[in-house]
Subunit: 317 residues, 2 copies
């Protein structure tokens, strides 16, 4: 086996977990593979709505081959019986697995170490902390909800090289090209909800849906920040049920409101190779008193070309 | 020998040519290597002020080893005798070189094919067009002056991710970090002159010099665009003697004036990983009537990290 193999199989489990990102809240989007004699005998990922769990799906697929297998799970198997299904830790013991490798402990107080303990008590070999950093990224929605009581927030900006999002006339179609727009639609499919400000909703009337072949049904819930609605301030997103990943798509004042309250965890910056000059700025007032206060917050985590545009992804630190 | 070797030796000549960028106007910054039996026997680059020429320097270094050597020159050897020195084509024939490989023909009407012809007439094997594209980039200043009667213009912008160059208060020190600023000083050393607008000159009082150890003497000439001076409009740069590379460093209105007149050939964009929001925009009004007109002009040619900042270089097409 060895740690190198463990990291490789956990990579496969993490890839499976991404299939459910944005569709499992309030449950985590877990991925799981069952491996016996170096062969994958079962694969699972949390199903839309949260059940079945990834482990249950992988065990069902593996059947009798679960006996003696190693289970790779991106999160600690749950220890609590629910009306919707049995505890995964019990299922794994019953199936007779030999070993469970997990990336992260489950911060949910109903499990939080109890899943691992139950497995160990039953004689199962348990390894923790494999690929912990990528697992934190893959399940950021669930983990942010658990740790901070609010969704993980991604802010999307699509600008010219000089940071403009429209001409003075308001014309904004199009700054970025079709590859960027397709990528932005894929991002929508990975979020439970999209939010825009009231003015953007009324003036631009964006459809905010997923227009990608085969993914039309993945369009997220649409939300509007408005002084007359349920969401009046950025902080109100904490109360959103079933939303662990929130995509903020504009406009400049809404983006600034989230940034001012440090409620942006990730920045998706699509930039077209054009200069606009006079026009609409990407962001409203952030209330910055001095430049020093702006530094140290954002870290580039990914960048790629999308046609002639460039995408940059920044994480808040 | 072979074309692969030719491209490799020409790469060495091009690297030498960069040593003189910004110091040879109105002469081109040529690089040259002399190779015999697979060994470099002489190296040269146009000296500050334009003389000696690169070929003369390489031949002097090679001495008797020039006989039978191959000469790699980034530009066609000159055919005109000047009070400041003999024609390089004649020097090469006298030295008995066997072969001359050049990247580009010299557009100067005093040479323009005559250098190659004189070499061929003397029985020297002449190859043209090796590494033509990088040679055009390396000698962009001279070539732009020859083709368009004006310097090659680089616009430098240093912005936040949202395109800001200062807080509303005017505070702009610092947006980018020390690695970016050092790189920008190196760029200054590669230009004969730097230009800023009158307001930037008066309010920011930038030193515009090269503050890099050992390169202090490479500080370029400082120019100010001002309605009351010699340079009133961007187009007036055509009349600048001894300036083939011009670096425009700000502010927003001066940058916009050069962009409006399509007088920017290259864009150096230093970006810090910060968001500023309300503040000073990088560019003034470009007079853009519709977004379609902004597209298709800029092409990313280089990008790299400079500390936590990112540099992007764009070429006008």
């Amino acid at each position: 086996m060895g740690l190198l193999n463990d990291a490789r199989w956990m990579g496969a489990a993490l890839a499976l977990s991404e299939r459910s990102r944005g569709r499992t809240a309030p449950n985590p989007n877990v991925g799981c593979v069952a491996v016996r004699d170096g062969v994958v005998v079962g694969r699972g990922w949390t199903q839309p709505g949260g059940r079945p769990h990834a482990e249950a799906m992988a065990l069902a697929q593996a059947g009798a081959k679960s006996r003696g297998a190693t289970i790779y799970a991106t999160l600690e198997p749950c220890a609590h019986v629910s009306p919707r299904g049995p505890a995964c830790a019990d299922l794994l013991v019953e199936a007779g697995v030999a070993r469970v490798v997990m990336a992260l402990g489950d911060p949910d107080p109903r499990t939080n170490g109890k899943g691992a303990a139950r497995l160990r008590d039953a004689g199962v070999d348990v390894v923790e902390g494999v690929a912990e950093v990528p697992a934190r990224a893959a399940m950021a929605g669930f983990l942010t909800r658990q740790a901070r009581g609010r969704p993980f927030v991604t802010l999307k900006l699509a600008t010219s090289l000089d940071g403009r999002i429209a001409l003075p006339s308001g014309e904004s179609r199009w700054i970025t090209g079709p590859e960027s727009r397709a990528h932005a639609h894929l991002e929508r499919a990975r979020h439970e909800a999209i939010l825009v400000g009231r003015r953007t909703a009324e003036i631009d009337q964006p459809r905010l849906d997923v227009r990608l072949p085969g993914l039309e049904a993945r369009s997220p819930r649409r939300l509007v920040l408005s002084t007359s609605g349920d969401l009046r301030r950025p902080g109100d997103i904490a109360a959103l049920e079933g939303v662990d990943h929130l995509l903020v798509e504009g406009g400049a004042e809404t983006a600034a409101a989230f940034l001012r309250e440090k409620l942006v965890d990730r920045l998706l910056l699509y930039r077209a190779p054009i200069l606009i000059g006079a026009g609409k700025a990407a962001l409203g007032d952030l209330g910055l008193a001095e430049l020093g206060a702006a530094h140290g917050r954002w870290r580039l985590t990914d960048t790629r070309m999308l046609g002639s545009d460039r995408l940059e992804v920044y994480a808040a630190s």
